[in-house]
Amino acid sequence: MEVFFPVANAGLGYKFAEVMEPLTKHFYAFKCEPSVLLSNEFITQLVETGELYALAPYRKLDVDTTLSLYPNGDLVLGLQKDTYVALGLNSPDSGAMKSKSTLPVKMREFGNCTSIRYPRSDLFIQSPFFEEIYSQNTNS
């Protein structure tokens, strides 16, 4: 970050240095498992008591796992697909994923059908509702 002021007198810089003195002069670096960020001590003492920013530096967005933490408490993980699956947060037991996990099972029932209309019409023909209509038509 860079701040620029045009000044008439070159010697004014030292005077402005006092005004432009930053509030925060330090930041911290450490190495830890991400689960440490979930520890109760970390959440109660740091996340809930102030504004906390954290990120994993020197990581390539498209190939590495990235990590960032924002003041609202969001821990955002950027994960490769394999890592994401291996983490286990994506398993069918997870409540949010239940509706998605049922979809492939239905698709398998219709074998090699490539059309979306075909299985739907097939379902309709096999349904009791269709049989009722069909019998009414044939009787009349």
């Binding site: 970050m1 000044v7 330090h26 991400p34 949010a96």
Partner: protein, 270 residues
Amino acid sequence: MIKLLRFSPFNYSSTKVHCINLKRISKHKKEYDRAVWALSRGVIGQPDVILSWETISPAADTNDHTHQILRGSELGQQFECLSAKKLALNSERKTLRNLQVPIINTEKMLQMVDHPSGQSKGPTPSRSLQKLQQLIPDSKEKTTPQQSLNPDFMASLEEWIGALHNRVRNYVEAAEVDLDVSSLTHDSLESVYMHGCIFDYEGFITPNFIAHQLEQMKKLVDGAQVPYGILTAWAFEDHSRSSLEYGVDAYYTIVILPNDQYLIIRPQKT
């Protein structure tokens, strides 16, 4: 609470984003246990993490626009378990002598347009920009809808600021410039010989840090000690979700002008 996001890969990779809100998850034991179990199995490994922490204290000497003051805090005992290394921000003061400094005033910046279209829709402003807008709440109202920024002047100003930060001395001093460096000229900029006082900060810089520096710049400009101040922040690009949801910009320039006016220059996002 674990928020499973839609699988929206980044533009250039198959990376998936997973978000865990630490404040909420601690109150939901089942989700909390699951997240701890997932993250403690060593799948991600032990990444290097840099961290900045600022406590929020009620403002004793608050002014009309700020409701709380953020103070840089020492982590001290709270952080001993992580054996964190304390790093200092690099700050440096430089003086550049005899520059052709552009004169920035409202008359030159603004031009009349035929079709006022209201406020243009752009990306979410970054946190430091939002704080600046809180700091100067009336500045937008002072610009009438019939006026818009003069594109020629703005292009020249952006070019000049870019040259300044890249230390292209020839351009900043209005000397002859190679066309490979810049095709723009100083014609649309009225300039005057002055010196440049530069404060350079490097490290893990948070929006609060930038907001504080903006406040200090505004004090200097309002006190007529300097005609204006230019702040440019740049960093590596974060992934798109951070940029959109958290208002984190990787690059922008803010020009603080007298009379509660300011300019924000940032690249157009697609």
